[in-house]
Symmetry: C2
Subunit: 331 residues, 2 copies
DNA sequence: CTGAAAGCGCTTACAG
DNA sequence: CTGAAAGCGCTTACAG
């Protein structure tokens, strides 16, 4: 049988209250008593039952993480595992636990959010992506439940919403600026998942900087972040013979572009992607990519949420730095 | 404030005991009372606090899943996300929750296991991989804590251990047999993670069937399941000029082989991999691969564990079917 | 068929 | 500095 606070109390010759206070290192307990109780704790191998504790403290020290339903078709993208890694590191550092829910579609994501809240099982929720008119965000805000999003929410009155994000607009603007300085006169952009704000922002940055630099452009949107989508988009995009460079919203799309370029024999096109995905084949030429620091995004999201839960947070958001990693030949 | 069982009781004019019995659909409660109570439940939107329930039932309906520390360097392998998907599906079907722990090394995996148990937070544990002389398995068995492993444990007295696995030995034997029938006289095998039983079994099947078929062979072991490791291994392996076919323990290794073959210009080598990984580049020739049905492995693991927890299980293991998917040109 | 009571393992005012 | 008591939100023998 599991050893409880009563067992420790009996062993140390004190009351359960005292043991509880020793556990929380209450300053009003005498040093000698503390020592004795700690010895009993060690001797008996006592670890408090966190469920019982939660029942009185009204905190479970568990955070619910909702994976976007696209995660499984996007498994080839390291973003999710990296973010999860960051999430778990932060949770561990702060003595929180993480509970994941995988949705099948947007509806079941909302269901997962509701379940988390209704069961009283989590103190807060983390959403791994932000959609336009996001139902989960709306529900969480409405119910005033603590949450954080990876990606900046696009709704009104978002000052009290916690979020982390890269500066995607700026990251793309930098790329376009760089390309313009190199002499590119006409650029292409391939995006996907139009209702993800991250996609919207990358496109926004692209358009803005093209206009600012007086660079011509055309844009193709695809359904998913896949090689096939990138290939299809490239095919369409390069009907425009003047395009000499291309910015993809994700490396998987860039792979498709590479593939198209190799097959079509077209040379001298400069490619930029996002999120440095390992190319198993690695036969194509290197291309430049923006490292969005997925692990840091996960870590900071949970840090922010936990600060909020413990009422110690100052800012409601955090911008995680990106790093443009140029292709080998550029170095 | 959250609505509790007392609120419902008051609203329906019954005692909390009765509400509790209605929740569990106890047969001794009158139909009329049930109806009235259910209306109150609905009206007030009551959902039981599962922590309070757990405290008395001694069950949390949470299963802890320990990710192998290699998971993050292996993120390019869909196995983990697929398995997690299967795990979450089974959990949802059975009204269980899942809690994941990511270890940094083998030691911290054991730490995670201990923490799960000590906190009283999980009813059972699922391990995503099995190592030789696996510390987590030893600890769990020693403490008689319910668990299931993906991969067959290799310890004595494993009859009471729950596990799911593919028949890796058989899968590789089939491949080798097929290759022998096609006329291959000498084969190569590339493995990695020698202390994972899955690797050991694939190698075992390879050796067995080569001997059975009278086919010559050589074997190279690498550290990790990566393209680089596959490339390095291929370089070494093909010093043996007679090798005409190669079985890789994972598709990532096979990509490395492809790369080597393309660079070295060597032709007519038949490649087999495992676990059909999407090749972002997809420039190389197609190769055949064994689909190990990762999602099913995850699903069945949790099914097995939950059956055990509810004392309804019969068998202590389950073999998940594999499917050999031949390269396009073979069809 | 239903309720009052005890208890799950903790924490925390309150009292001394 | 420490303990007895009440309570967190449930469930479940026990009694009627």
């Amino acid at each position: 049988m599991k050893v409880t606070i009563k067992d420790v109390a009996r062993d140390a010759g004190v009351s359960p209250s005292t043991v509880s206070r020793v556990m929380s290192d209450n300053s009003r307990i005498g040093a000698a008593t503390k020592k004795r109780v700690r010895e009993s704790i060690k001797k008996l191998g006592y670890t408090p039952n966190i469920l019982a504790r939660s029942l009185v403290s009204k905190e479970t020290k568990i955070i619910g993480v909702v994976m976007p339903h696209e995660a499984d078709s996007l498994f080839s993208n390291p973003f999710f595992i990296q973010a999860m890694k960051g999430i778990s590191i932060s949770a561990e550092n702060n003595e929180y636990h993480i509970m994941y829910a995988f949705g099948k579609d947007e509806k079941s994501e909302l269901k997962a959010v509701k379940k988390f809240i209704d069961c009283n099982i989590v103190d807060g929720i983390c959403l791994l992506t932000v959609r336009k008119r996001d139902k989960c965000i709306a529900y969480l805000k409405e119910n005033n439940f603590p949450f954080v999003t990876i990606g900046r929410p696009e709704i009104r009155n978002s000052e009290d919403i916690l979020w982390v994000d890269n500066d995607n607009v700026e990251a793309v603007r930098n790329i376009v600026k760089k390309m313009s300085e190199k002499g590119h006169k006409r650029l292409g952009h391939i995006g996907a998942k139009e209702n993800w704000t991250v996609s919207a922002n990358r496109k926004k940055g692209f358009v803005k900087e093209c206009l600012a630099q007086g660079v011509g452009f055309s844009i193709v949107y695809e359904e998913d972040f896949t090689v096939e989508d990138g290939y299809r988009a490239a095919k369409q995009l390069f009907e425009d013979r003047d395009i000499t460079g291309i910015v993809c919203a994700d490396d998987t799309l860039a792979f498709g572009v590479q593939k198209y370029l190799m097959e079509s024999g077209r040379k001298g096109i400069e490619i930029f992607g996002f999120n440095r995905v390992e190319n198993h084949g690695n036969y194509g030429p290197e291309f430049s990519s923006v490292n969005i620091n997925s692990m840091e995004l996960g870590r900071e999201a949970i840090n922010l949420l936990i600060s909020k839960l413990n009422l110690t947070n100052k800012s409601n958001y955090k911008i995680v730095e990106t790093k443009l990693e140029m292709a080998e030949e550029e170095k």
